[in-house]
């Protein structure tokens, strides 16, 4: 027997399905907050990269290329980096990681972390190259790599939050 869903059930489902996008959006906003931690603001880790990486593996259908594009665009406009830089990096991360999702699914956290390390360094080098092309000047590479390292350091926290959201709120969804 087919049970027709009520309006509120459909609404609830729709809201839950936006959660991957909402978490990435909040990560982009958090990157623009003032932390008051010495030197952290100049070496801000890429929180959006971690969130995009997680959803590209675990819920690629709920976090598509369009979502990655929009989050990247908001991030670029908000942080003042050359337009298109974060957009392209997050888009390529979403596509590249989603294509390898099968390898990561069901693997221990250490494998996810190792994979993110590779993605973070690759994304940092790509961003550095694109920023140099867009700005016409070369940013200090050391700072870019330290920022990538910090992204790797905070990844377990992001993974934990996204994992809890997926288990508690998206477990019943496709």
């Amino acid at each position: 027997m087919i049970i027709e869903k009520t309006f509120w059930q459909k609404f609830d489902l729709a809201v839950r399905q936006t959660l991957p996008f909402v978490t990435a959006f909040l990560a982009a906003l958090m990157m623009a907050t003032q932390t008051h931690v010495p030197r952290l603001n100049s070496l801000m880790p890429s929180l959006t990269l971690g969130v995009v990486y997680f959803w590209a593996i675990h819920r690629p259908t709920l976090f598509g290329m369009g979502s990655a594009f929009v989050i990247g665009l908001i991030q670029d406009l908000l942080t003042g980096v050359p337009l298109g830089l974060g957009t392209l990096v997050l888009l390529l991360t979403r596509v590249g990681v989603a294509s390898q999702a099968r390898f990561f699914l069901g693997k221990p956290f250490a494998v996810h972390w190792w994979g993110f390390g590779l993605v973070a360094v690759t994304a940092a080098l790509l961003s550095w190259t694109l920023a140099a092309a867009a700005l016409g000047v070369v940013a200090p590479i050391g700072q870019v790599l330290v920022s990538a390292l910090l992204s790797v350091v905070v990844f377990p926290l992001l993974f934990g939050v996204c994992d809890q959201i997926e288990r508690r709120l998206l477990a019943e969804e496709p």
Binding site: A32, T79, V81, L91
Partner: protein, 317 residues
Amino acid sequence: MKPSAIPGRWHSARLLLQRFAFVVFVTAAFALMLLGKADTILVERARTVIVDLMAPVVRALSQPAGSLARVADTVRDLANLRAENVRLRTDNQQLLLWRDAARRREAENAQLHSLLEFKPPPEARSFAIQVMGDTGGAFAHALLVAAGSHDNVRKGMAVLSGEGLVGRVAQVGHRASRVVLIIDITSRVPVVLENTRTRAILAGNNSEKPRLIYVPAGARVSPGDRVVTSGHAGALPPGIPVGVVSSVDDTVIRVQPFMDRDRLEVVRVVDYGLAGILDSLDDETRAAQAETLKAARERGRVQRVRDTQPAAESVQP
């Protein structure tokens, strides 16, 4: 038609669509990069809209970090109370000497002004605004401040902290603005070394210590030299403290800015009544600036003084 052909075709079409979507999105991302270079006004407007829209959320997200920082500051202050007291007493002694010196020089200055019929520049108008976000990262360094065109903030205005120059207002929304810091890679501030009056440009490089460029040949630059704004280019008035020369070597002169970026909670936006942006300068001024830059480039390399110790600060009233 075979029954299995429809799902197969549908799957192929879906795959094709996905591949096509990827190409479209990547092309769009590159188009955005080109747009950012070609139509800066449009991009600037888009940035302004986003900053205005996101400002309340960023402000709310910054509150917990701000509260924690204040608690940490209070604990640190209590722990350092005795040492701080000793330091303040010493500072007070020095400042009293400086006050006497300043009074004497003020009187002397007033006399000289009256002799020369000197017309002082118009007084600057300033107001304090709250810092609500720091859009830091490896590629851009800016602050989001909680005031915009509604509060009479305009593009190009100088932004100062208690210590010195912080940056310039780059984009102005209705209720929020973006301030590009002097350490940002796009920042260029005409400066002068306070003691030797050597002109240079302070160029941000996204590191904590921006560089001095276009220093004239034969200029004597030593660690410890104070750097202040020169007032050239019609952007900022002269004499605003910027930083201190921290190191000098064959290729690079680095400056440690006075501003403490991690502790900025409230900044002062100052309207000096200057144009503020290079685009608004007249052709004659722009041509003069181009000539100055060309001459500086032709003068070649800089002869620098390599002092290993910073110049000791002394009170000479």
